[in-house]
C-alpha cells in the first residue's frame, strides 16, 4: 500500500508541494481567475500576463492540500510561455486524464504526467483538477466579450 501512497505523492509532486513554482507576484497582469473546492476547502488564485496570444507569465497562489498545491505549481511551470491555444489544449488533456479518460501529453510535460497517481484516490481527483479548471475558465472568460471580470469556479459544480 505504501507504494500506492508513493504513487500519489510522487517525488515530483512532493517537490512541487515543498517549493511551488509561479510564486512570485507579477508586476503587471492582464487577467485573474479564482477557484475553490468547497468539499475540502482548497482555494486557488492565479494572475496571468498575456502577450500576442501567448501566456507570458503566471502567478499561482494556492491554499490547500499537497495535491492541489503541487498541481497549481506544475501548471505554472507547464503553461508559461506557451500560446493560449496550446495552454487550453494541455489543460483539457489533463482534465481527461484525471477523469480516467484517454489523454495525450507531449513528452516535455513529465511533471504533469506525475499527477496521474491521483487517479487511484478518487476523492482526491478534484484537488488535482482545481488549478486546471480555474485556468480554462479564466482564459475562456478573458477571450469572451465581457472579459475582464474575474470568474470563480467551483470543482463541485464540475462534478455534476
Amino acid at each position: 500500500m505504501s507504494s500506492q501512497l508513493d504513487d500519489m505523492y510522487r517525488d515530483i509532486i512532493l517537490d512541487h508541494f515543498r517549493a511551488p513554482r509561479g510564486k512570485s507576484k507579477l508586476d503587471k497582469k492582464d487577467f485573474s481567475s479564482g477557484g475553490h473546492n468547497p468539499s475540502c476547502g482548497d482555494e486557488i488564485e492565479m494572475d496571468i500576463k498575456e502577450e500576442n496570444g501567448v501566456l507570458k507569465d503566471i502567478h499561482v497562489k494556492c491554499r490547500g492540500c499537497a495535491i492541489s498545491v503541487a498541481s497549481g505549481s506544475i501548471l505554472a511551470e507547464a503553461v508559461k510561455g506557451k500560446p493560449f491555444e496550446e495552454v487550453v489544449k494541455i489543460a483539457e488533456e489533463v482534465r481527461k486524464i484525471l477523469k480516467g479518460e484517454e489523454g495525450v501529453l507531449s513528452e516535455d510535460l513529465e511533471d504533469v504526467d506525475a499527477l496521474k497517481g491521483v487517479r487511484k484516490f478518487p476523492v482526491r481527483v478534484k484537488c488535482a483538477l482545481l488549478a486546471w479548471l480555474t485556468l480554462i475558465e479564466g482564459i475562456k472568460n478573458y477571450k469572451s466579450e465581457d472579459g475582464k471580470e474575474n470568474p470563480t469556479i467551483s470543482t463541485d459544480e464540475d462534478d455534476k
Binding site: 501512497l5 515543498r18 475540502c40 492540500c65 482526491r124
Partner: protein
C-alpha cells in the same frame, strides 16, 4: 464480555480506569483486521463507533428466531417481537434518566430527531419575529433544520459564539436569549472541539424566558452518563450508531407534556387511534410519532449496545476517556507543527480531538495515516460555520472510545512524526 471488575492484564494501557481495553477489543471483530498491511487503529468513533459481537449477534438472533412485525399481530412471533422492541424503549428511558417510557421515540438517527422537533414543534410554536438560538459549534444536523424553520417562519436565527479556547461565550447571554426566544438548540458535546457545554445552565436561561431547550446529545450519550431529568432539557436527540449500536436507529426524547401537544411528523399506520373517511385521531405516545413499520431489528440490536455500555459502566467509560484524552493532548502537544483545537483540559471535554498541522492539509494527514492503518476523519466535520469562526478550512480529528488506549495515541503520534518527514518537513 468484560465487566467493571476486570483488571487490566497487559501493559498496553498503563492506567487503571476500570476498563480493560484488551478485553473490550476482543469483543469487536472488526478490530482484528488489517488496513493497508497494518493492524487497524480506529480513531473515528465520533463519526461512527464499531460494533461488538453481542450487537451483531442480537440482530442475527432476531432475524433467525423471532422476526415479525410489531404491534399488529396476535401470533406468538408478533408478540415476541413487540415485547422485545418495546422493552428497548424502557431500557433507553432508563439509560438517559427519562421519567416516562413513552417519552422515548425511535427515529432513524439524531438528524431525524432534530428535524422532527424543528418541524413538528417548530411549526406550531415559532412565528414571525421569534428568535431561535443556536451556537457556533453546532453540527449541521442541529443547525440546518433551525435555519430552515427560521426561513419558513420569518423567524430570527441567533447564535452563541465561541471563545478562542473552544467554549461557548456566555458573557452576553442575556442579549442573545431574550423574551422573543422560543427555542435554544445546543450540542451537549461538540463533535469537533470535544467541548462539553453547560446544558443545565442554558436550559435554565431558556426557561426563564419561556423558551425550550433542545440538546443534541449525539456525541455526549456514547461517552458520559447523561440524565435528561437532571439536565432539565425539553428535548434530547442522539444516534445508536455512535454508541456501539446499529445504524438506522436514533432517539428523540421529549418531555411528556410537550410531546402530547406536539403534532405528528409522519402519518400512516400505527400512529392512529381511529380512522374514518371524515376524521382521524392520533394514537397516544409514543405510537403517535412512530408511523409505519419501525426498524425493529436495529432497535433490538441497540439494546445489546446499551447492555454492553451499562456493563462497562458509563462512569468508567468517562474516566477511561479522560485518561486517554489527557494523554493524547499531552503527546500531540509535543509534536512539531501540530495545533490542537478546543479545550485542553480533558475534564471539560470528550475524546474527539481536532488538530491541524501548520504545513500539511488534513486530507493529506488522513491519507497518510490511512496508509499506516490509522483511521481518522478529515474535513469540516459537518460544521462549516464553526470552521469559519475558527478561521480554518478543515481539521483532522482523532476520536477515542472504549477500545482505544494510550498505545493507540503513541501509534498516532509516531505516524504523525513520520508524516512530517515523508512530506519533507
Amino acid at each position: 464480555m468484560p465487566t467493571k471488575t476486570d483488571k487490566r492484564t497487559t501493559g498496553s494501557g498503563r492506567n487503571d480506569t476500570g476498563i480493560d481495553t484488551n478485553a473490550v477489543r476482543a469483543d469487536f471483530p472488526i478490530l482484528t483486521r488489517e488496513i493497508n498491511g497494518h493492524p487497524l487503529v480506529y480513531l473515528d468513533s465520533a463519526a461512527s463507533s464499531q460494533k461488538p459481537k453481542a450487537v451483531i449477534n442480537s440482530i442475527v438472533d432476531y432475524y433467525e428466531n423471532y422476526h415479525s412485525n410489531v404491534h399488529r399481530g396476535l401470533h406468538t412471533l408478533a408478540e415476541k417481537a413487540t415485547n422485545a422492541y418495546e422493552n428497548v424503549r424502557g431500557r433507553t428511558a432508563q439509560f438517559i434518566g427519562a421519567p416516562h417510557v413513552e417519552e422515548v421515540i425511535f427515529t432513524r438517527g439524531a438528524t431525524e430527531s432534530i428535524n422532527a422537533i424543528a418541524s413538528a414543534w417548530g411549526d406550531d410554536n415559532v412565528g414571525e419575529g421569534d428568535e431561535i438560538v443556536i451556537t457556533e459549534m453546532e453540527h449541521h444536523a442541529n443547525f440546518v433544520p433551525w435555519y430552515a424553520l427560521a426561513k419558513r417562519k420569518n423567524a430570527i436565527l441567533k447564535k452563541i459564539s465561541i471563545t478562542t479556547d473552544g467554549q461557548l461565550d456566555l458573557s452576553n447571554l442575556s442579549e442573545i436569549i431574550t423574551e422573543r426566544t422560543k427555542v435554544v438548540a445546543v450540542s451537549h458535546m461538540s463533535n469537533v472541539l470535544g467541548t462539553i457545554n453547560p446544558i443545565k445552565e442554558l436550559a435554565q436561561a431558556a426557561h426563564k424566558v419561556g423558551a425550550i431547550l433542545v440538546a443534541d446529545g449525539a456525541q455526549a450519550v456514547p461517552h458520559m452518563p447523561v440524565n435528561v431529568s437532571e439536565l432539565g432539557v425539553d428535548f434530547y436527540a442522539f444516534s445508536s450508531h455512535k454508541m456501539l449500536g446499529p445504524t438506522g436507529v436514533g432517539v428523540l426524547w421529549g418531555k411528556k407534556e410537550i410531546l402530547e401537544k406536539m403534532q405528528p411528523f409522519l402519518y400512516g399506520g400505527e400512529m392512529i387511534r381511529e380512522v374514518s373517511f371524515e376524521k382521524v385521531t392520533w394514537a397516544d405516545l409514543p405510537n403517535k410519532f412512530e408511523a409505519g413499520t419501525p426498524n425493529i431489528a436495529d432497535v433490538i440490536g441497540f439494546e445489546a449496545a446499551l447492555d454492553y455500555l451499562e456493563n462497562l459502566g458509563m462512569d468508567n467509560i468517562r474516566r477511561h476517556e479522560i485518561d486517554v484524552t489527557t494523554y493524547a493532548i499531552e503527546q500531540l502537544s509535543k509534536l512539531k507543527g501540530i495545533t490542537i483545537q478546543g479545550p485542553h483540559d480533558a475534564t471539560m471535554r470528550g475524546g474527539a480531538i481536532s488538530f491541524t498541522d501548520a504545513d500539511i492539509h488534513p486530507h493529506d494527514i488522513s491519507t497518510f495515516l490511512d496508509s499506516k492503518g490509522i483511521a481518522v476523519r478529515a474535513g469540516h466535520h459537518c460544521a462549516q460555520p464553526l470552521m469559519r469562526a475558527m478561521n480554518i478550512i478543515a481539521t483532522a480529528r482523532a476520536s477515542f472510545y472504549i477500545y482505544n488506549d494510550r498505545k493507540d495515541v503513541d501509534t498516532l503520534c509516531n505516524a504523525l512524526t513520520q508524516m512530517r518527514s515523508y512530506f519533507g518537513l
